[in-house]
Amino acid sequence: MAVVHLQADHRRFTNGQNVITVEGNTVGALIDELEHRYPGLGHLLTDGASVAINGELIPNGIFERVEASTEVHFIAPIAGG
């Protein structure tokens, strides 16, 4: 269980909701659950997003453990030059 923050881009999948409480013990499980509830969203979160947990960008997010109070942000990928 965690509090997931989605970007505006993701909201077209979630009927406009941008903060969603989701079941799951890892970020990967959250994505699976979101895909189950909102088909198509999971793909976007896996391939086209970075993950921040409680405000810190986590490079390899999917195996990261989450708890009920964990704030998970899915944000756009960042690169550099």
Partner: protein, 743 residues
């Protein structure tokens, strides 16, 4: 000048030793990719599309193959067709066109011959039958209702669309309520900004040598920002397994993001395989400009509201970034880079377009300078209207730890306020503005990234050390690695040799990009050193016959109470008898990259009769976290500033109506020369990044973000015209002055 939040506790970190690779570079011995030659080497040349958009009906290579000295010819047919969803699909297509040429200059075939001249002649003899297709060259043309499709393989990112379109990506970021925010504002400014494509302008053209053996394995010598990425992208483009490719990093002659992708290596590998001889490919400057990644052209509409006390309430912006021939993230990162102010209400639309121009590539803080041009100009106008000091206005709204970025994540510990104050307190900002000139201020921000890095530290028998990483050194990072290792081990920096190793001699390491090398690879070096120190303590315990708990590591020596300390050299001398060689390796996927903020101030004089803007004085402050080697931190700040100055004043891509670049030379693609500039005074601000052992933030990118609005704001102050189109070249500036004068 350095402004630190607290005194520096380090012995080596923060000093300015001569870089380890410097001697080779001042004596002319350093080997860049074009400097390497193999026995029996062939030279390659490309055939490039003369059309901005065309269907390739057929390619006849028979005449070329029959020409003297020609040993191999390749076309798109020799490369595998990747699935359209493959992450490197666009890279592969850009390297060699298949059925569709996407821009003037797109490679359609390549030749290898005994001499470069023979290769060039043979390339000219390759017969390509094109069917010219309608092309789109600008953002406006791409967006037009009846626009032709620029790239039939393009699908819009972040949508469910499956049909080809001229949109590369569509994103939106928002928070608060912009309608309410604007209603609350006492002053609203709104403008449209345009910028043209600009090139990274590295002085070394792309080059590589590939040598494919009879076993099908290829060794590639490449100048790149990341040789592991060269390996993976080459493997993907060719459909080869990774173990068939070894990439040896040559010295790299500048990259600035432009050498994070590849253009030559798979072609060289395939030519080498066909010819069974090493093949060298070197681009001409014209090819570099016509066929390698520029930074995107943009069109940005922005609207900013504030209350009379200078509180920014609302920003609404629609940003179009042109990706060139294939999709990319440019619009997204541009929009996300608007993150320096609290701004309770925000709505950003970020739209990438696809056109028949060269595929854009990353360029130092990719897409942030264009976005900053818009937002920092509007902030300046608000300060001007409200008669507020531009620094004070920014201080009032500056983000601090916990405030949200544009994408909604809270900022970690950052040094924006400290950087603003550094300029506010600077001699430059407190000096009178020279008569007849204007002064401009602007800020910039870049996220910085972590990613994967590896490092191995070997202690030699005599106690000297080799620090081996996989991060190509483009601005002095080897010296930084050695400094951090010196600090950890307590070993003089000149007893440490930093090495950039090939893809088979060090663990996987991501590209030197996103200001990450000193941060992430530095962290790997520190971790390896710390592991090595535990081992040294263990060896010292063995030598002295005590428990490891009794051994402390202090200032490069093992200290045991009541005994003489043991130096590293004394321990390594006995390595054979205490367990063998002393070496340690660390790999990581670094978290906790710290954003870096910059604030620039410039004094500019404008010749109102000719529209020539001259920079009289320039000062650039930036938060480095901790400056490991301050000289090279200053160098990054100064270099970024001048690239931004070039972008602001004179650099631009000029296409004719057929999409051919008209100014594909250093004569007409006008990068700044020494006489165009004053000294660039750097101020290093140090607000350490708590997520790095030495507080490093990464400094490579942010410096290019503020110059454009800094100069635009200075020009506005000097002569009252708001420049909203780049470059602010003499013809554009004079036209604006004429308009001001009512002519």
């Amino acid at each position: 000048m350095t402004v630190a939040t607290k005194p520096r506790p380090y012995k080596y970190v923060g000093t300015r030793p001569v870089r380890h690779d410097g001697l080779e570079k001042v004596t002319g011995k350093a080997r860049f990719a074009a400097d390497l030659n193999m026995t029996a080497q062939l030279h390659g040349a490309f055939v490039r599309s003369p059309h901005a958009h065309a269907r390739i009906i057929s390619i006849d290579t028979s005449k070329a193959e029959a020409m003297p000295g020609v040993k191999a010819v390749v076309t798109g047919a020799d490369f595998p067709n990747l699935d359209i969803k493959h992450p490197e699909f666009d890279t592969a297509v850009n390297i060699m066109a298949r059925d569709e040429a996407l821009y003037n200059g797109h490679a359609v075939a390549a030749v290898a011959a005994l001499s470069a001249k023979q290769a060039k002649a043979a390339a000219a003899a390759v017969e390509v039958h094109y069917e010219a297709l309608p092309a789109v060259l600008t953002i406006e043309e791409a967006l037009a209702d009846d626009a032709p499709i620029a790239n039939f393989k393009n699908r819009t990112l972040f949508t469910k669309d499956t049909e080809p379109s001229n949109l590369a990506s569509i994103n939106q970021f928002d928070r608060g309520d912009i309608a309410a925010g604007f209603a609350q504002a006492d002053i609203i400014v709104e403008r449209e900004f345009t910028t043209t494509a600009v090139h990274q302008g590295y002085i070394e053209p792309h080059a590589c040598v590939a040598d494919c053996g009879q076993d099908g394995k290829v060794t590639i010598w490449a100048s790149s920002q990341g040789h592991f990425a060269v390996r993976s992208k080459t493997a993907d483009s060719l459909g080869w397994s990774t173990d068939r490719i070894k990439v040896i990093p040559a010295e790299i002659g500048g990259g600035f993001g432009g050498k994070t992708t590849i253009y030559l290596e798979p072609v060289a590998a395939l030519l080498s395989q066909k010819a069974a001889r090493p093949v060298k490919l070197v681009m001409t400057r014209e090819e570099v400009l016509r066929a390698t990644g520029p930074a995107p052209a943009t069109k940005i509409h922005a609207k900013l509201g504030a209350t009379t006390d200078g509180t920014l309430t609302t920003l609404a912006s629609t940003m179009y970034f042109d990706n060139g021939s294939t999709k990319g993230y440019s619009a997204l990162t541009g929009a996300m880079s608007v993150a320096s102010y609290k701004l309770p209400n925000l709505e950003l639309h970020a739209i990438g377009t696809v056109t028949n121009t060269p595929r854009s590539a990353a360029y130092r803080a990719p897409s942030a300078p264009q976005a900053a041009f818009a937002v920092e100009t509007l902030i300046d106008e608000i300060a001007q209207h409200l008669n507020l000091d531009p620094i004070e206005l920014r201080l009032k709204n500056a983000v601090v730890e916990g405030d949200l970025t544009a994408m909604g994540v809270p900022h970690p510990k950052i040094g924006f306020v400290e950087t603003l104050e550094a300029i506010k307190n600077s001699d430059h900002y407190n000096s009178p503005i020279p008569k007849g000139a204007g002064r401009g201020v602007a800020t910039g921000f870049w996220f910085n990234i972590g990613e994967q890095s590896s490092a191995t530290v070997n202690l030699n028998e005599d106690g000297t050390a080799a620090v081996i990483t996989g991060s190509p050194d483009i601005g002095g990072s080897r010296a930084s690695m050695a400094l951090m290792a010196a600090e950890e081990l307590g070993l003089a920096v000149d007893r440490i040799t930093p090495i950039v190793a090939d893809t088979e001699s060090v663990g996987f390491t991501d590209i030197t990009e996103g200001s990450r090398a000193t941060f992430a690879t530095g962290m790997a070096v520190v971790n390896a050193c710390r592991e090595l120190i535990s081992e040294l303590q263990q060896r010292a315990a063995t030598i002295r016959g005590v428990d490891i708990e009794q051994v402390e590591w202090v200032d490069g020596t093992a200290q045991i109470e009541g005994q003489d300390p043991l130096s590293i050299a004394e321990i390594t001398a006995l390595a054979k008898k205490t367990g063998g060689p002393l070496t340690a390796t660390a790999s990581l996927n670094a978290a906790g990259a710290g954003p870096s903020f910059a604030v620039h101030v410039a004094d500019v004089a404008v010749d109102e009769e000719t529209g020539v803007a001259k920079i009289l004085r320039y000062t650039a402050a930036q938060d480095a976290g901790t400056a490991i080697h301050p000289s090279y931190v200053e160098g990054q700040i100064q270099g970024g500033s001048v690239q931004g100055i070039g972008w602001a004043l004179n650099e631009e891509y000029i296409y004719d109506s057929n999409g051919e670049m008209e100014n594909a030379s250093f004569l007409d693609y006008r990068m700044p020369v020494a006489s165009d500039l004053p000294m660039i005074d750097p101020i290093i601000v140090e607000v350490p990044n708590p997520s790095h052992p030495y507080g490093v933030r990464g400094v490579g990118e942010t410096g290019i973000v503020p110059p454009i609005p800094t100069l635009a704001n200075a020009i506005a102050d000097a002569c009252g015209v708001r420049m909203t189109a780049l470059p602010m070249s003499p013809p554009r500036l004079l036209a604006a002055l004429n308009q001001r004068n009512g002519n």
